[in-house]
Amino acid sequence: MYEAGGLGLADYSIRTVNLWKIYPNGIQAVRGINLGIRRNEIFGLLGPNGAGKTTTLRMIMGLLLPTRGKIYVQDHDVVRNPAIVRRYIGYVPQFFSLYSDLTVFENLKFYASLYGLSSSVALERIRFVMDVVGIRRYKDVLAGNLSGGYKRRLELAVALIHDPPILILDEPTAGVDPPIRRAFWEMFRDLKREGKTILVTTHYMDEAENCDRLALISYGKIIAEGRPREIKRMTYGGDIVRIRIRGSPGNVIGSLPVKEVLDVRRGDDYTEIRALVDDFSIRLPDILEYLNNRNIDVLLAEQVQVTLEDAFIELVRRAEGS
């Protein structure tokens, strides 16, 4: 929530207040979303397909009218001033959206004209953005003849052509090879260093770790929000430990000094227990002492590294369950 953290309204590039989108067929794509995207941060929007991510982005862009709620971009009401808001945003849609039958340069020139850049400024910006995304050597190549990765670079270059303070990227690395994905995220970090605010949606959980903050959306609602580490810890309410003991645990499981036993798996001559503790570093010695006192042979005791994907799946599962 944007009210948190003692920040003022002016500290946010994008704010949504109780945002709803109900389509004429009754589908509630977005249900009361409150987002506060701070200036100069990379904010990730995660969620399964159909969760409402793209609908939210399209409302922020002014492409869709919200059914209820408010959206502010740089403190301008999107619904009232869509033309002003569009000048602040560079947008990379989910799918290739440029002209295949125009060259890289022609696409950039065209969009520079739409944003009202004079010829000299446009040429300067075109050279600059081509260098930023590393596409200059392809400037005379038809956009349709570029590889998938370079098409996405061109999309990013076009989004940057008018030097917007905000970038909205809808699955910017979808269908792109891992090395190029890495290069893209380096570019995003560079852009952030230059002062840009970036709102990005992605399906790649490893990529999401690069975001400063995240919001997880499920069924049109935000189910978690925060830094990636916070979300992982918040998901389970602590750390997860894995303990493997020789033989059967007998009746000790119920009295283990843990918050909750998550699951117990039995092997041929061992038993593996996954349990939740408030803090791994404090609780592990207690657990080992407890088991030693009962003459139970501990084969392995370690912290389970919870990935964002684990947290994501768990949170979505809970949201679906509720």
């Binding site: 945003i89 799918f95 959206s97 440029l98 739409l114």
Partner: protein, 375 residues
């Protein structure tokens, strides 16, 4: 799996896709049937109410027989009683009427003295492809009926038994145009209409299908600016095609007596109207296939109902308004005078105004709906 199974799989898939998309299905099946039915209903009769004029140079009984026959015949709508042959010809030349009949001075006297007389028929051959022949045949029949009736009158009044013979002297305004002369305005009109119309109809849906529209809409450009910017090149393409086609038609021997500037002006008006219709189809379509189907059917409708190939005078009066929804109708009314008669555009100025009004109405309507669709 045999090749027939594979073939059937494709056929099956195509049918499923066709049936699933209700709008495409309606366009593919219902629209052609509707057009055919409409054409059948509209033209299943002889021409009626063809605008005509008459010069009555004789007030005695034989002339009255001809006059009454003409007045009672549904084919002709006698709009003007004219003073002389020169005026009658002027009215036909200026396309105020399709046909004029001149009953000369001393008509009855000729009948009484020689049992022979003549009538002058002035007919416009430059405006409709098949109508002049139909009208001539119809008038010939009227003349034959008149001969019988006048013969009877002659016996009753003068006790003279004689077979009266009336010669029909035909004056063809527009000469005897060759087929290429008659078809040239049609080709010109169709080309000028269809290219901008088709381009306009697919332009917005193509942007949408290619995925380029969403990106455009995120720029500060206004919806109306976007639509206008997309349409302007098509208008110039339409006018350029019109002039290009005209030069080609002249090269292959078509008659052209008018002014190129006039053709440019009318083509510009038709181009505007075509863009409006095309944009309207773009509003109705959700994909390029539907837009192309709308354009194709409009092309067929233009052939059937624009009045050049099939005369509107042969339509049922209650269905004749269909003709007025076709921009090509107004175009033909202007260009047939320009191309074959060499008349100035000022003669057809009302049709030009109608065409511009048509264009602005359809454009305003389509702009409104398209900009709403883009929101």
């Amino acid at each position: 799996m045999t090749w027939t199974d594979r073939l059937l799989a494709i056929v099956n898939k195509e049918i499923k896709q066709l049936v699933r998309d209700k709008k495409t299905l309606a366009l593919v099946i219902l629209l052609p049937l509707f057009l055919t039915l409409l054409f059948g209903i509209s033209y299943a009769r002889e021409p009626v109410n063809v605008p005509a004029g008459i010069v009555v140079g004789d007030s005695r009984y034989a002339a009255k027989v001809v006059l009454n026959r003409l007045l009672s015949d549904r084919t002709f709508n006698i709009k003007y009683f004219l003073s002389d042959l020169k005026t009658a010809k002027f009215y036909v030349e200026k396309s105020k009427i399709m046909l004029a009949v001149v009953i000369p001075e001393g008509f009855t006297e000729m009948v009484e003295e020689t049992h022979k007389a003549y009538i002058v028929t002035i007919i416009d051959t430059a405006r409709r492809i098949s109508l002049p022949e139909i009208l001539m045949a119809k008038f010939e029949k009227i003349v034959l009926d008149c001969e019988d009736e006048i013969s009877k009158e002659l016996y009753m009044r003068k006790r003279v038994v004689a077979k009266v013979n009336i010669e029909n002297v035909v004056d063809l305004v527009g000469g005897e145009p060759s087929m290429v002369d008659l078809v040239a305005p049609v080709v010109l009109g169709i080309m000028t209409q269809q290219v901008p119309l088709t381009l306009a109809s697919i332009s917005i849906v193509r942007e949408r299908e290619r995925g380029t529209l969403e990106k455009l809409l995120t720029t500060p450009i206004g919806r109306i600016d976007l639509i206008i910017g997309k349409l302007i090149p098509f208008l110039f393409v339409g006018v350029a095609i019109s002039l290009g086609s005209l030069f080609l038609l002249i090269m292959i021997g078509a008659t052209f007596k008018g002014s190129y500037i006039d053709i440019v002006i009318v083509s510009f008006a038709l181009g505007l109207a075509s863009l409006g219709v095309g944009l309207f189809f773009s509003v109705l379509s959700t994909n390029q296939l539907q837009a192309m189907q709308f354009s194709t059917f409009f092309l067929i409708a233009s052939f059937l109902f624009s009045g050049f190939v099939f005369a509107p005078e042969a339509m049922r009066p209650e269905l004749r308004p269909i003709v007025y929804t076709m921009p090509l109708y107004y175009y033909f009314e202007c260009t047939s005078n320009i191309i074959l008669k060499g008349l100035s555009l000022s003669v057809s100025i009302c049709y030009l105004i109608y065409l511009f009004v048509y264009a602005f109405i359809i454009l305003a309507f389509s702009f409104k709906f398209m900009s709403r669709k883009l929101e």
